[in-house]
């Protein structure tokens, strides 16, 4: 298949099933499941084919002129595939999980329809070739995730949905201003290796700085950079598979991915250094890392604690690219995948606890490990990874960020990383300790004959935990997230 066809196929493989599912009757479960799984598997195949082409060195591109200088452009470079693969793999697993999770709830067709569209939008963001296309999919994502956030229909969910919408729409508006501004500066908004704005010889430094701030605020809302993170903790009222996808791949990641694209391909590392805006972003990221962790410490609600942890962890990505140096940037973008794998595991496990045992709070988790050993095993692995302990994926991130920080002449990254490590340990390890070492809250949990969680809920969680372990253990393989990120670095930021 040609590269251009593959580009379209990756989008349509989730868009078409999504649209068809809206038409499927609520009862015909089998048809809906088949459509979902067919789309998810097909997407993975297409992504795999694309990756093979990209590894060879080609960059499939598809450009459609819309109106005047505006064009929709899709292109699949190595960086795009990082987010695309992550979303493809996790979509499949989360779909399986969601089938098990929403077995007997209402509005399943609506749910799965929007679920598929949500992944389509993420995919579109990943393979956008210019900022205009990026904006379109970015806004589409806002619209299609709203029904998922309010899916439960409770007053709390409606309120959370409204906050979510206000933040993301306002952010989108700011981003729109930025895109228009960039368009009138350059006449085009293409992502260019080394930085599109480099082509502008006599640009006013102040104007570029202001543009940077506007663009960063636009994508910073979804990336939950403090103080634009207000929507994220309340959005955790969504059903577990939605939270999982929201925190690991879709919304938050798309914001972080936008930061990577804008920093490295609109401005470029050279210009970032010249303008001195990298420091600002790095400081904002550092504050977010610490603030999120400090807030997570005092949350008793498990999902809320995980949500604040996301606030903190996603800014590792922003920190990495803000340093605007190759190794640090590798540490940043590799965390795009690593954080996704670990955080989705945590949310899936939290969902299992809620669904099987009705546990929502950390303080109720005493001895859960005896009742759900595999689930909590996966949770423990992911939590250790979040702290950044070897051999989990998080350790690789920390190592690359640390070395990268030293390389970039920013040794303050080391104490920052270590503080974050300790804070992460302070809010994750108590959960692990409770689950395994405290006597069970209910005596019957000791009963050996009690079954683990249903397979559809358990297997995805165990699988993502295994992937997170593999990503760390086999980091030096060329197909690992780190290997792929180094490929990106070699193509984008080679000195």
């Amino acid at each position: 298949m040609s590269g251009q066809a593959l580009l379209l196929a990756t989008l349509l493989s989730s868009a078409l099933p999504g649209l068809l599912i809206f038409l499927v009757a609520e009862e015909s479960r089998r048809l809906r499941v088949s459509l979902n799984l067919l789309g998810a598997v097909a997407k993975l195949v297409f992504i795999g084919l694309l990756m093979l082409q990209i590894r060879e060195g080609t960059t499939p591109t598809l450009r459609v002129e819309v109106w005047g200088p505006l064009a929709i452009e899709l292109h699949a470079d190595a960086l795009a595939m990082l987010l695309a693969t992550l979303s493809g793999v996790l979509w499949l697993l989360t779909t399986v999980y969601a089938i098990g999770y929403l077995e007997d709830s209402l509005h399943r067709s609506r749910f799965f329809g929007f679920f598929s569209l949500c992944v389509t939008a993420t995919m579109g963001v990943a393979i956008s070739g210019n900022l205009f296309t990026f904006l379109l999919f970015y806004e589409l994502l806002t619209v299609v995730t709203y029904p998922l956030v309010v899916h439960r229909g409770t007053p709390m969910a409606i309120r959370a949905g409204r906050v979510y919408l206000m933040y993301t729409l306002a952010g989108g508006m700011v981003l729109l201003i930025g895109v228009v501004w960039l368009q009138q500066l350059l006449g085009d908004t293409r992502f260019v290796t080394g930085g599109a704005l480099r082509a502008l010889p006599d640009a006013d430094a102040f104007e570029l700085q202001a543009l940077f701030v506007v663009l960063m605020v636009g994508v910073g809302v979804k990336a939950a950079v403090v103080p634009l993170h207000g929507w994220l903790p309340s959005a955790m009222v969504a059903p577990a598979p939605v939270s999982a996808l929201l925190h690991a791949v879709a919304v938050v990641k798309v914001g972080a991915f936008g930061i990577v694209r804008i920093v490295s391909e609109i401005f470029g590392f050279e210009l970032i250094h010249e303008l001195g805006v990298g420091h600002g972003l790095a400081v904002a990221a550092s504050i977010t890392i610490l603030y999120g962790s400090i807030r997570a410490l005092s949350q008793d609600d498990l999902k809320r604690r995980l949500a604040y942890s996301t606030v903190s962890q996603v800014s590792y990505i922003a920190l990495g690219v803000a340093l605007a140096a190759p190794i640090a940037a590798v540490g940043g973008i590799v965390h795009l995948v690593h954080q996704g794998l670990m955080k989705i595991t945590l949310f899936l496990c939290a969902g299992v606890c809620a669904e099987v045992l009705g546990i929502h709070r950390v303080s109720e988790m005493n001895g859960v490990g005896r009742r759900l050993p595999w689930t909590l095993g996966a949770f423990t692995l992911a939590a250790l990874g979040m702290i950044g302990l070897p051999p989990m994926a998080g350790f690789i991130t920390k190592w690359e960020l640390g070395i990268g920080g030293l390389e970039a002449g920013a040794p303050w990254v080391l104490p920052l990383l270590m503080t974050s490590t300790l804070l992460n340990a302070a809010y994750f390890l108590p959960i692990v300790r409770r689950a395994w070492f405290e006597p069970p809250a209910e005596a019957e949990w000791n009963d050996r004959r009690r079954r683990e969680a249903p397979r559809l809920l358990l297997y995805p969680a165990v699988l993502t935990a295994t992937l997170a372990l593999m990503a760390g253990l086999l980091a030096s393989s060329p197909w690992s997230p780190l290997g792929w990120s180094e490929l990106i670095a070699a193509r984008e930021w080679a000195p």
Binding site: V163, F206, A210, G230, P391, G402, T421, L422, S476
Partner: protein, 560 residues
């Protein structure tokens, strides 16, 4: 091959975790898991192995250090496993103990073979985290408190160690441990790196003032775990210094002096606090702190005089075997004596021989170590020598005192319990005797210069005399709670922690009063978060931003 052999314990641990059916074979697994590593150390010395797919590219090798480290550790692991087979026979959580035991064993045995930083760090980390499960095994409040202290200090240590390793790796431009150690001497932030590495490994090695977890955790664990913690795991910190410090490459006189002081403090204070304990295992744990002080003295001399290192390096290896075997034997012995009354002969031999070895009686490896140290001190400048020599003699005396105190505590306890307890189970006694035999026969396999030195006889006799007088006069010793410095420290940290956490800290630590100010601070944060999650915040945030940009645009632009 190296990887496969050293990770056998991990495979067993994974089996035990995954399948209930394998649990019956647990005791066998714990006993057999160390055998491949012994085989490797005996027959594959000099072997190297590269695993480019693992972590960031893993390299393993078996040099002399690794071989000695693995063999003596393996003996202790096997003895401890045999002991546990007997002592934990009826424990419903036995398999959990075995799982953590095996994880720790695999990490500890593999540690010596790892030749690149990420692998070393991985194994060091597992050897740090997994013992938590051993420490808290019995679930008592005391064990959980000890576990918490251990975990907090271990994590703080990791947070100090990793920047040290990152800086060192960055300075050397490679991940290979040996090259990093060589490059350290000329590294840009040499002093900072050495300071971080010194502190990072110090927690594991129990070097004051970072020793405070040790007298809590080692006694709180079940006896076989105490033996491996004090006999084997404590060496991991020492191995870290051995691998990463530029020993034998350059002279670092300042760091040498710092380590000399720390080592002396450890040797003296460890013995002093140990003597003031009321529990035999706590006294033994403090004796470990004191003994590690001696080992640090050897390292310090090597760091100050690189030409002396070839003489001193074998002494560090000897120390691994000497202290590990003797201290493990003592812990097992105290455990056996507690659980019942073995015959008087067994008790006398099993406790006295390892104690004499540590005290440095002639004919034991302790004598070899002490005379080597005394010879090495000669190279120090006269002023330093004048201070060191009397202090070393004092430390020998203190070593003997603390061991006597531990033995007295152990046998006093046995006399009190003798009526209730019957004969102890057989496996623990066999394990204990095995280690005792190993202690006795150790001089056959090691350098023997100074084996007959009688330098320690006088301190030992003096110690026995003092103790005799003490007992005869019925003097009472003051008591220092195990963990000494920790008691005031815990009080401070719990207050700080509860202020931030806004919740009860983990069980086992008493909660201080929550300062009112801190509560107000967290309340303000909560209010801020609520505001951010409201509609008004969004409009104000974004309108504010637009206004700010507009103002900046009109006011600043002409100037720029």
């Amino acid at each position: 091959m190296i990887a496969a052999a050293t990770w056998v314990p991990w495979v067993f641990a994974a089996l035990l975790m995954v399948s209930r059916r394998t649990r019956r074979a647990g005791p066998f697994m714990t006993m057999a898991a160390a055998i491949p590593a012994v085989g490797l150390a005996l027959f594959a010395r000099g072997a190297e192995e590269s695993l480019p797919w693992l972590l960031l590219g893993s390299r393993l090798a078996i040099d002399d250090t690794a071989a000695v480290f693995m063999i003596c550790s393996a003996i202790i692991w096997m003895a401890a496993a045999l002991y546990a087979h007997g002592s934990l026979a009826g424990d419903p959580n036995r398999h959990r103990f075995e799982i953590f035991f095996l994880w720790t064993m695999g990490a500890q045995l593999g540690l010596a073979t790892s030749r690149d930083i990420p692998t070393f760090y991985l194994l060091f980390f597992v050897a740090t985290i997994a013992p938590y499960g051993l420490v808290v095994h019995d679930g008592s409040a005391r064990a959980r408190h000890a576990g918490l202290v251990y975990l907090v200090m271990a994590l703080l240590a990791e947070a100090v160690l990793l920047p040290g390793l990152l800086l060192a790796a960055n300075a050397a431009g490679t991940l290979e441990v040996a090259a990093v150690a060589r490059g350290l001497a000329t590294a840009e932030h040499c002093d900072l790196i050495i300071g971080l590495l010194l502190a990072g490994f110090a927690v594991k090695a129990g070097l004051p003032p970072l020793h405070v977890w040790l007298p809590l955790a080692h006694p709180a664990a079940p006896t076989p775990a105490s033996a491996v913690l004090s006999g084997v795991l404590i060496n991991a910190g020492l191995l870290g210094w051995l691998r990463f410090l530029p020993l034998g490459v350059v002279d670092l006189p300042v760091w040498s002096d710092i380590m000399l002081v720390l080592g002396l403090v450890a040797a003296l204070l460890g013995a002093l606090f140990g003597t003031l304990q009321r529990d035999a295992k706590s006294a033994l744990a403090y004796s470990s702190v004191s003994q590690m002080g001696w080992a640090v003295l050897i390292l310090a001399l090597g760091l100050g005089h690189h030409d002396q290192w070839p003489v001193l390096a074998p002494m560090v290896l000897l120390f691994f075997a000497h202290h590990g075997l003797a201290k493990a034997a003592l812990f097992l012995g105290v455990g056996v004596v507690r659980s019942g009354t073995p015959s008087r002969v067994i008790r006398a031999i099993g406790l006295a021989v390892p104690a004499l070895a540590i005290a440095g009686a002639p004919g034991t490896t302790g004598a070899v170590l002490k005379s080597a140290l005394k010879h090495a001190v000669v190279v120090e400048p006269a002023a330093m020598k004048a201070i060191l020599e009397p202090l070393l003699t004092l430390a020998s005396w203190a070593t003997a005192i603390v061991l006597l105190r531990a033995l007295a505590l152990a046998s006093g306890r046995a006399d009190a319990d003798a009526s209730s307890a019957g004969r102890p189970p057989r496996a623990p006694i066999v394990a204990w005797m095995l280690l005792t035999v190993a202690v006795i026969s150790l001089p056959l396999f090691t350098p023997r210069a100074g084996l007959g030195s009688t330098g320690s006889v006088l301190p030992i006799l003096l110690a026995i005399g003092v103790c005799g007088v003490w007992r005869w006069r019925h003097w009472r010793l003051p008591h220092v709670p195990p963990g000494d410095l920790l008691v005031p420290l815990t009080h401070l940290t719990t207050r700080a922690a509860s202020a931030i956490l806004q919740q009860r800290p983990a069980a086992g630590v008493e909660v201080g009063t929550r300062p009112r100010q801190a509560r107000a601070w967290t309340r303000r944060l909560d209010a801020l978060e609520r505001w951010l999650a409201g509609q008004r915040a969004v409009t104000r945030l974004f309108l504010g931003l637009l206004v700010a940009l507009a103002i900046a645009g009109t006011v600043l632009r002409p100037a720029a």
